[in-house]
Amino acid sequence: MTAIDSHATPLADPHAPAHPPGGAGHGDGHLHSKYPFLAHHFESPAQQFDSGKLGMWIFLATEVLFFGALFALYAVMRFREPQVFAFASQYLDTIMGGVNTCVLILSSLTMALGVHFAQRSKTGPLLVCLILTFLGACGFLVIKYFEYTHKFHDNLKWGPAFYMPVAGEHGAAPAPHADTKLVEVPPASGTAAPEAVVSNVPSYKTPPVDASTIKAGSLGPIGITSPSTAGEAGEGTHGAAAGHGHGDVPHLYDPDLPVDTHQFFAIYYAMTGLHGIHVVIGMGLMVWLMVGTIRNRFNSNYYTPVDLVGLYWHIVDLIWIFLFPLFYLIS
């Protein structure tokens, strides 16, 4: 942990000359020849490292806000329709989610250890750590893949597809292209009455006035104040016993299915999907680091890429740490 030759850096002593006068500036100077990784516009490795780190933290701030909008969306929806979240979360496998959390935490640990070894110029252990982190990411995605395929099989999808019966059950086979038609020209879609476009402007079916049939959450500030909500939430857990992890109880025929449940899956896929994309990007970065490590590029003088990818990987972990209770731990 000795300091670099700081007297040669102009920042160390503002009254010392930056470089010998008349020096050509580009790639010259004693620090630049000493540290080939030092880019020409930086004065010292410390300045370069600091800049990289600050840049990465700013990028992480943008990541936080990127996901932040989705968290805001989640908050709005959950406040509005708690019964939807209580009902729909029964289709998520808490154990699988928990295992995935642990996998991601372990990969975060190996990444942090990797940075530690890079700081000490220990290339071998660094490579091992990177491989372990990469494997952790793979494991996470494999588990996620099983979760997704399971839900797809049960038609637990986004949008109108959520309301299609699961094929081969209950007789009512889905009309082949109804969904696509809806997607392309919603107002003129085949199944709706051939009304003029203008008459479709009210987006909801006009409700009958009988307020007593209205289920929780749709009226009142939020569902919490409505007495029927509490019962609803309780039944949701009860329903979980039947539906948990099995495809044989299609959600569509569950009498407790609340209105707007498809929104839960919209935001579930949006948030976990975006997170998954980040995991895939992280895997690419791991491969890049492994190549660099094999080429012996990182050492205690220069480990900026390892450090910055590490920060990225931790933020991916950190976001999952919030996604897990928000989706899998709803009771």
């Binding site: 102009p10 920042l11 503002p14 000359p17 930056a18 470089h19 006068p21 008349g22 020096g23 050509a24 500036g25 580009h26 880019a39 020409h40 516009h41 930086f42 004065e43 300045q47 600091d50 800049s51 600050l54 840049g55 700013i58 990028f59 701030a61 943008t62 990541e63 806000l65 990127f66 996901f67 932040g68 909008a69 989705l70 805001a72 969306l73 709005v76 986004w158 949008g159 109108p160 809806l182 997607v183 020209v185 919603p186 107002p187 987006s203 909801y204 209105v259 707007d260 498809h262 929104q263 919209a266 935001i267 896929y269 949006a270 975006l274």
Partner: protein
């Protein structure tokens, strides 16, 4: 003081044949360049081209409004597409990148005495992203265009039959990341690459403005990116987040959209304010008045900008509670904005003003921004806005701020730094004429629209009651006048590139570092990192006949030369 040339008292710079324009040659040396100056010039070219395209759209829109029945070659659908395209192109392709990415990229590292921005590759990458985003916008035209307005409000944007919506959303998403990376780069550059002697309160005010802008770019743009992605997904798959037909909430879309797009208004205006601080001080040859107030007000505006987005949504179904809160906070933005205006006026007072072309644009800015800002107070007032919302009053207001202020400042900055960028002087005569035409044309166009709006003419309509026609005719004639002004500007600037007088290093009498390196600057800007003094102390700037321009006599600055003669401060 090794950076001083003992005889001249100047930075030891030698104007030589080697400058950033001639350092390397060939198309590839531009496309793959990591030099912030070349990237800035490429941005400038790209932004000005987009400005031309967006301007043509605007002229077409105004032509339709001149006489809707007579201009029958433009259908109402085309009219809707044209005003949408005008808005989207001007906002996302022109104003947002114009000052930070084009002028900022060129000037910022030189002002800092740095060799480049902190991450040159990221800088180039963000320019490529800009190109990719622009390509997506063009693709959206081929895919059937879009008529949603630049705000993409749901449910219309999820329903409209024009096929270009997803393409343009992709384009804006990509442009957003271009903007984020530029902002990141500038924050890190300002934090880490400042030269010795340049403390935070020694920075030219343009840098403060760019810094505040970059903060907004970094914090607000991601929200727009995710919102537009969700909107595209909503349109393709009907996931039920924003579209009420699937149980979504369109007001929520507006919240997310304006969480970015209101701060984005300050992404547009803050760098303009930075340019004005430079122009006013340099061309008045007087120390900027109230430096710290201007600096802090930039940051204050950046922070306030995040707290007022709901004033765009007073009639959208937003609750009356939030309407009240947002209206109240909106007034607070007036404070830092007014602080700036008063400080600029204070700088002008008793300054020795040179009425150069940049200064003419600077004075125009003061006038137009004051009108734009004060009418903003009208619109921020809840009960007044209920009446004025979505009328031409709003159109006039934001054109006064976005065009009359941000773009005028950008063009002023372009004239201010043009000699530095290309090493040539343009015709001051034609510059003054063009500036006059733009100023008069602008006011004729948009002041009329204040009257139209307060009489009740709604925006985005291609037809109107006969009693509005006289206003529309006047407004359209003003737009043509402005177009002539911009055409003249383009002509004399292009002419100057080939025939202009060679520019001295410091044609205006500037004091900050960019005026102390040759015009155009060499590849590395400065051979050594220079020390800086007070960048608004013009007492050491003097005219040099041999040079044909001003020089900054560093021997007179007690901070740079301990033996300098004692003198009273400015």
């Amino acid at each position: 003081m090794t950076t001083l040339d003992a005889t001249q008292g100047r930075l030891n710079i030698e104007a030589s044949a080697d400058n950033y324009l001639t350092h390397t040659r060939g198309v590839l040396s531009w496309i793959l360049t990591l030099d912030h100056k070349r990237i800035g010039v490429m941005y400038l070219f790209a932004v000005l081209s987009s400005f031309f395209v967006g301007g043509v759209f605007a002229l077409l829109v105004r032509t339709k409004l001149l006489w809707p029945d007579a201009v029958s070659w433009m259908t109402k659908e085309q009219y809707n597409q044209l005003f949408t395209l005008h808005g989207a192109v001007m906002v996302f392709l022109v104003i947002i990148p114009s000052i930070p990415a084009a002028l900022g990229n060129f000037v910022l590292p030189i002002m800092l005495g740095a060799k480049d921005v902190a991450f040159p590759r990221l800088n180039l990458f963000s320019f490529w992203l800009w190109l990719a985003g622009a390509a997506c916008v063009i693709a959206s035209l081929l895919a059937g265009s879009f008529d949603t307005g630049w705000t993409f409000y749901t449910p219309y944007s999820t329903r409209t039959e024009f096929g270009g919506v997803v393409w343009v959303l992709t384009g804006v998403f990509i442009l957003g990341f271009s903007s984020i990376f530029t902002g990141m780069n500038f924050i890190v550059t300002i934090h880490k690459l400042r030269p010795p002697g340049m403390t935070w309160f020694r920075m030219p005010l343009f840098l403060w403005a760019i810094y505040a802008t970059a903060l907004i770019q970094v914090l607000a743009t991601p929200v727009l990116a995710i919102t537009l992605s969700l909107l595209a997904i909503e349109r393709m798959f009907h996931i039920g987040i924003f579209d009420p037909a699937m149980g979504g909430d369109p007001v929520l879309f507006q919240h997310f959209f304006w969480f970015y797009s209101h701060p984005a208004v300050y992404i547009m205006i803050l760098p303009g304010m930075g340019i004005i601080s430079e122009i006013i001080a340099v061309h008045s040859h007087r120390h900027i008045f109230g430096y710290r107030f201007i600096a802090f007000s930039s940051v204050a505006i950046a922070i306030f900008s995040f707290l007022v987005w709901g004033h765009h949504m007073f009639v959208s179904g937003q609750s009356s509670l939030m309407n009240t809160i947002f209206s109240a906070i909106t007034f607070s933005v007036a404070i830092p904005s007014a602080i700036k205006v008063f400080n600029w006026l204070g700088t002008l007072y008793k300054g020795s003003i040179s009425l150069t072309t940049p200064m003419l644009y600077g004075l125009s800015f003061l006038f137009l921004f004051t009108i734009g800002g004060l009418t903003g107070i009208h619109l921020g007032t809840l009960n007044v806005d209920i009446h004025l919302h979505d009328t031409y009053f709003v159109v006039a207001h934001f054109h006064y701020v976005m065009m009359g202020s941000a773009l005028i400042a950008m063009i002023g900055g372009l004239h201010h730094w043009w000699p530095k960028m290309f090493g040539r002087m343009y015709s001051e005569f034609w510059g003054a004429i063009a500036c006059g035409l733009v100023f008069v044309g602008f006011n004729v166009t948009f002041f009329t629209q204040f009257m139209l709006g307060s009489h009740g003419m709604p925006r985005r309509y291609y037809l109107y009651q006969p009693e509005y026609q006289i206003y529309h005719v006047i407004s359209t004639l003003g737009a043509y006048t402005m177009a002539i002004g911009f055409f003249i500007t383009a002509m004399y600037l292009i002419h100057s590139l080939f025939r202009g007088k060679l520019a001295p290093a410091n044609p205006w009498g500037g004091r900050s570092l960019e005026w102390q390196c040759p015009s155009p600057p060499p590849h590395d800007n400065f051979p050594t990192t220079p020390r800086v003094g007070d960048c608004y102390d013009f007492s050491i700037v003097r005219w040099d006949e041999k040079e044909g321009g001003y020089i900054v006599d560093r021997t007179l600055d007690p901070e740079l030369n301990p033996n300098a003669p004692k003198r009273s401060s400015h």
